[in-house]
């Protein structure tokens, strides 16, 4: 009899279908002409094209990071990727009623109905299909409060001054290899602006869907909370099941001005590849926020999908008394690899940060937590609390922890706690002896382990995340 805490296989990925729709795609490969083509297709102003071209030239001098992350893959052939693909519905849409029914159907199938009658109560959704936004719900309602929630492309057209002021202000185009690539070729994404003193009355969310084959997805999200404003934002991601790897290199920038608050939650469920490690999304994402005086930025992520995840949602605590938080659940199963964590850069006085990371490894998955806490000389009284827990399911997976701590101010106070546990046969047996079957027992134990992170998610999504975790670990024990 094989041990119950072992063997891993086929979890059915239920979002693996393909929508049959004509796409307007750029030719394969990357050069200045492609960058110009994307910019032209979007009808962008010259300053933005120049920004892209500078990023592209910078990118050409950079190389893919292979030495430091604990992930292993063959170098990507950047000339074999399609950098722009849009469902051929041509003109900008006046309202959701004009969206191609096949696209609406796709989102309904994904559990994200876009029509406002059916949509989750109190959640506004921007749907990104391949490279472009196909619809945003509740726009009018939000605009009553002065809140702008639209696709990135629309923001460039309608609110160029805001975009120009803040684009690249948190993640410069020269930041890293993938951020530079994104800056050169990004096609769409979501844009949010919440004016001074306004508390956004509903959850905002973006739903990313990769459909076309051989394309990369390079979206860019920019969220600005003006002084005293607050907003909660959620993104979800899925992609079809394919046997080639697809690159997703997104950038998210959060700008929290004085006393503003931004909560950004991610439930990432890109296709993870099959049990042999064939196919799946390379999720190489740069996410960062900058918090001004008394502002708060909170990242919550539940990462269950992707063949490889490389992301470090970070906070630059620039203003005095600003607060940064990072709550993460990362699950690897099958042959998945994740190298994820955060950076908390304390610049202002009395800045505070909290890091809670829960890594779960099953199958032959490899999970790394990589976190940096930096306290700069001016950051008197800075405080950080880090808790980093790993759970192993089975004998063939791995958990790794790489904490970096750099303190340049003697009044700072940092705490770091770490633990590694294994779902043991005793824990499973205890649950089974009380009448629970193996899958329910695992799901209960894992959800308990992740509880501190799930309680940070908006209510509706916490339930989703728990279910997703159950699906991701399905079949992780024999």
């Amino acid at each position: 009899m094989s041990s119950p805490v072992e063997t891993l296989v086929n979890n059915e990925y239920k979002y693996g279908f393909v929508t049959d729709i004509d796409a307007d795609a750029a030719p394969r490969g990357l050069n200045e002409e492609i960058v110009r083509l994307i910019s032209a297709k979007k009808g962008e102003p010259d300053w933005l094209l120049d920004w892209r071209l500078r990023a592209f030239r910078g990118w050409q001098k950079m190389s893919e990071p292979h030495s430091w992350p604990n992930i292993h893959y063959d170098p990507i052939d950047y000339q074999d990727i399609i950098y722009y693909s849009a469902p051929r519905t041509a003109k900008p849409l006046g309202s959701l009623d004009e969206v191609d029914p096949r696209l609406l159907e796709t989102y309904t199938k994904l559990g994200i109905p876009l029509s406002e009658q059916k949509v989750l109560a109190g959640v506004a959704v921007d749907a990104i299909f391949d490279s472009v936004s196909v619809g945003t719900s509740y726009k009018a309602r939000l605009l009553e409060e002065g809140i702008i929630f639209c696709s990135f492309g629309e923001a460039v057209r309608e609110h160029p001054e805001l975009v120009r002021t803040y684009l690249g202000s948190v993640v410069p185009s020269s930041d890293n290899f993938f951020a530079a690539l994104n800056a050169a070729v990004f096609s769409d994404g979501s844009f949010v602006y919440v004016p001074k003193g306004v508390k956004c009355p509903m959850e905002l969310s973006t739903y990313f869907r990769i459909n076309a084959e051989g394309t990369g997805q390079f979206e860019r999200t920019l969220i600005i909370a003006d002084e005293g404003a607050s907003v909660s934002y959620l993104e979800g991601c899925t992609a079809p099941r394919r046997d080639t790897n697809q690159l997703h290199a997104a950038v998210v920038e959060l700008v929290a001005l004085d006393r503003a608050s931004i909560k950004y939650s991610t439930v990432q469920n890109w296709y993870a590849g099959d049990e042999k490690g064939v196919g799946g999304i390379y999720n190489f994402v740069t996410k960062r926020g900058k918090a001004q005086t008394g502002a708060k930025i909170s990242w919550t992520q539940v990462e269950t999908g992707s063949a490889i995840t490389w992301k470090y949602p970070s906070v630059i605590l620039q203003g005095d008394d600003s607060v940064g938080e990072f709550y993460s659940v990362a699950v690897v199963n099958g042959r998945q690899q994740a190298d994820t964590g955060t950076k908390m850069i304390h610049m202002g006085r009395n800045t505070r940060s909290t890091i809670v990371s829960k890594g779960i490894s099953a199958g032959q998955g490899q999970n790394s937590y990589r976190g940096q806490v930096r306290v700069l000389p001016r950051a008197h009284g800075a405080r950080n609390y880090t808790q980093c827990d790993s759970m192993l399911i089975g004998n063939r997976c791995g958990a790794h922890t790489f904490p970096y701590i750099d303190v340049q101010n003697p009044t700072a106070s940092l705490e770091h706690e770490a633990s590694t546990s294994k779902i043991g046969e005793d824990q499973l047996f205890y649950c089974k002896q009380r009448g629970l079957n193996t899958e329910n027992a695992i799901s209960m134990i894992v959800n308990g382990f992740c509880k501190e992170v799930f309680k940070e998610l908006p209510m509706e999504f916490a339930v989703e995340a728990q279910k997703l975790l159950g699906i991701s670990l399905e079949g992780s024990v024999g």
Partner: protein, 251 residues
């Protein structure tokens, strides 16, 4: 209710149970005593279906079913309950959630409707009295940060909620002070009914002052070497295990 015939079991290649015979009827309390290493806890674990033990021979019939063919959760759903010697922690899962999940699994298996959290609270309220506990304990994570005595009380609380037909208490008295022992034993006694049975595994006679058995069996080197009434426990207390170590006729 339970018929054990010639049960043999091993762990890691070492034979621990070497032919156990035991009959337990509804309404009875059986005490299994014996020195350390005699196989008492192994017997309890094998009855519950722990995967670390391999059954190498014999039969166990429970309520007319072949117990050894059943998965651990099927045994639990059929009413077999093991009070663990070392109850396991489940961080982040509240006692209330865990108990309700278990309770509902067992109800489902018996064709009954599951209870929602509110209705379950009413059930709990009654059961908490069995172990003289208030409701605060229900919001704590299962056995996390519990004292030794609290984990054992929690086992009895689970037993009270799940209402097993056959309860096996594995060294439930170990690590208990006298007050906790009184509460735990009191709980077990309140749960005794004509239609259920209890097997009490213990090293010491002390527990049997509180839970009075109908039968006492002494286990030595994986076999039952002597059986008798409750007075056998007292005799063991007076004369020690050496007295019965070797099966009669061999010494």
């Amino acid at each position: 209710m339970l018929e054990i015939r010639g049960l043999r079991a091993s762990a890691g290649g070492n034979e621990i149970l070497r032919g156990i015979d035991l009959s337990v009827n509804a309404g009875e309390v059986h005490a299994i005593m014996g020195p350390n290493g005699s196989g008492k806890s192994t017997l309890a674990q094998v009855l519950a279906g722990h995967p670390a033990y391999e059954v190498t021979g014999g039969q166990v019939t429970y309520m007319g079913q072949d117990l050894l063919e059943m998965e651990p959760e099927e045994r639990a759903q059929a009413g077999v309950f093991l009070a663990f010697q070392y109850p396991v922690e489940i961080p982040g899962v509240s006692n209330a959630y865990f108990l309700r999940a278990a309770y509902n699994e067992i109800r489902k298996a018996r064709g009954l409707e599951e209870l929602d959290p509110m209705d379950f609270l009413d059930v709990l309220e009654e059961k908490l009295k069995v172990v003289e506990w208030g409701p605060e304990i229900m919001s704590r994570a299962v056995n996390s940060g519990f004292s030794g005595g609290e984990t054992k009380r929690n086992e009895i609380l689970q037993m009270a909620v799940l209402e097993p037909r056959l309860a096996v208490l594995d060294e439930t008295d170990s690590g208990l002070d006298i007050d906790a022992l009184r509460i735990v034993a009191g709980g077990v006694n309140r749960l005794r009914r004509p239609d259920n049975a209890t097997i009490v595994v213990t090293h010491y006679q002390r527990l049997l002052n509180y839970i009075v058995p109908d039968y006492v069996h002494v286990l030595s080197a994986g076999r039952i070497v002597r059986s008798g009434g409750k007075e056998l426990a007292l005799e063991l207390e007076a004369r020690g295990y050496d007295w019965v170590e070797a099966p009669a006729g061999v010494a």
